[in-house]
Symmetry: C2
Subunit: 341 residues, 2 copies
Amino acid sequence: MLQDQLQNKINSKTKPLGALGMLEEIALQVGLIQQTTQPFIARPTIMVFAADHGIATTGLVNPYPQSVTAQMVLNFLKGGAAINVFTQMHQLKLLVVDAGVNADLSHLNQPDFIHAKQGMGTSNYLLSLAMTNDFVLGSIEKGKELVKIVSQGGCNCIGFGEMGIGNTSAAALIMHAITRIPIQECVGRGTGANDEQLSTKINTLEKVVALHQLQHLGNEPLKLLSAVGGFEIAMMVGAYLAAAAEKMVIVVDGFIATAALLVACQIEPMVMNNCIFAHCSDEQGHAKMLQFLKANPLLNIGLRLGEGTGAALAIPLIESAVAFLNQMASFEQAGVSTATE
Amino acid sequence: MLQDQLQNKINSKTKPLGALGMLEEIALQVGLIQQTTQPFIARPTIMVFAADHGIATTGLVNPYPQSVTAQMVLNFLKGGAAINVFTQMHQLKLLVVDAGVNADLSHLNQPDFIHAKQGMGTSNYLLSLAMTNDFVLGSIEKGKELVKIVSQGGCNCIGFGEMGIGNTSAAALIMHAITRIPIQECVGRGTGANDEQLSTKINTLEKVVALHQLQHLGNEPLKLLSAVGGFEIAMMVGAYLAAAAEKMVIVVDGFIATAALLVACQIEPMVMNNCIFAHCSDEQGHAKMLQFLKANPLLNIGLRLGEGTGAALAIPLIESAVAFLNQMASFEQAGVSTATE
């Protein structure tokens, strides 16, 4: 049916069969998401969710101080971060969301900044739950609501990025709980821990695994978010769910964004149908997360920055895939001879 | 010196050290090519060299008829091919060069089409040399001349593509002679040979290796081109040499484009300093060619189309690398705290 029509259209183009590799798979996928043989990418957008993590204040998991989260939000709003450069270069819309930064940002008033603060960072999960179930549900709802608004604004292709000092730890814990891969293989250097810091990070997260009995939360996405999640991660879970419901093309960024996707897929496995994987991060653990999801990323260029930068860099490839499907001539149109068997 | 200044500038940006992976290496490389800490990409261009190969008329090496080369040139000029779509999408200039297509194209008159025909295709190298030494020298000179003109027009970033039915055979023979990798490992399916066609292609090229004693031509680039080269390949050799001399950023496409680079590097090894490798092609042999050159490609997405399509798709990544170097804020500028050791 539609799948065959799309494949025939791809095969009719003036190129050897299959010669555009993964771009052909993406053209097919976007056609299926949009249920048309003439798909299009409209107002591609990167939403960066920022929040703080209580664990970061302990200094046990990260070399940067927690204040960097708020400082980087200001950097986003002034246009100085990597994601600003890449979204501007590739003509993507950038939205920054305060999901729970531990700083009062209420005075900041510009159209690309969304106030959705759930709290002044999560609680330290070495001592308690990161957040109550109400906050989990509230964050997910808010993420859904925000993406619905973006969709209603005409965007049909979205990537989610994040900023949050300490959030590779939350992502590693989530990965461990859901994939059952040993925690040591889930934990990486994050923003750049040295060997000693990495060792402390692993030891700390092993304690968290035991404290919250994460081995029992692999099929309990809401409880898992409550135990070790972050406001930005929970909000991204809602964002993925709404983006799939709105039939958007979802461009999946790196380690933390993929951890949020793991949770979203537990709630609604069909989300995967809408996902295109932008890149394989250099953060240890991401490659195994992608394997777990049977995902084949577009880029493998050693990125480990977050902010949605990998998604932003991959969108031109996705646009290229859709463009060849719509714009290339067929053998018949161009009067080009086909292969002889 | 400059290298340190560039590295310091990269490291000062508001991101963890090294977090932009290969984009950081490219920013450094482009700075070194242009000898500045503020490099820029101007008028990025794809030049597609088209020519025919005598061997193609035998039907022994390719499933498509030779007439497809000319048909595809017409498709390029009408805007219907993959390279048209990608250059348009990414705002690249496209130039098409008749280096030696076996069809009279002299009536075609449009500014993006360059008449540089060296002959009506090469001779069949199963019977004789593909071309005389004079044609080798003439093709190389023409390639140099054309790239100099493009450089004088303000372009400082160029990728070379090709179209020529049968030219994966010439590329495999060149690869075998220079890398000394067994011919069977150099030969691939090209535009899509089936198992039987592939077997015939390998048998045919084994005969060519013996006939022209290619084992003695690994350090004789001009004789090698004379024996088994193509007009488009020889012209690309000149194009690489001139692009490096003009201090351009060279974006290296797939199997045939890299074979031409192998030859160019024998004439002038410094060409490599200017090369950024766009992608690893799905054409068997390209990965080993890249290994031989110690090259690390940006994309690995199963492309095997030629036409410079891989180069066109990689240029947005190169532009992104240069943009982050110029546009991102430093920690100091943005007031962001750095890591604690």
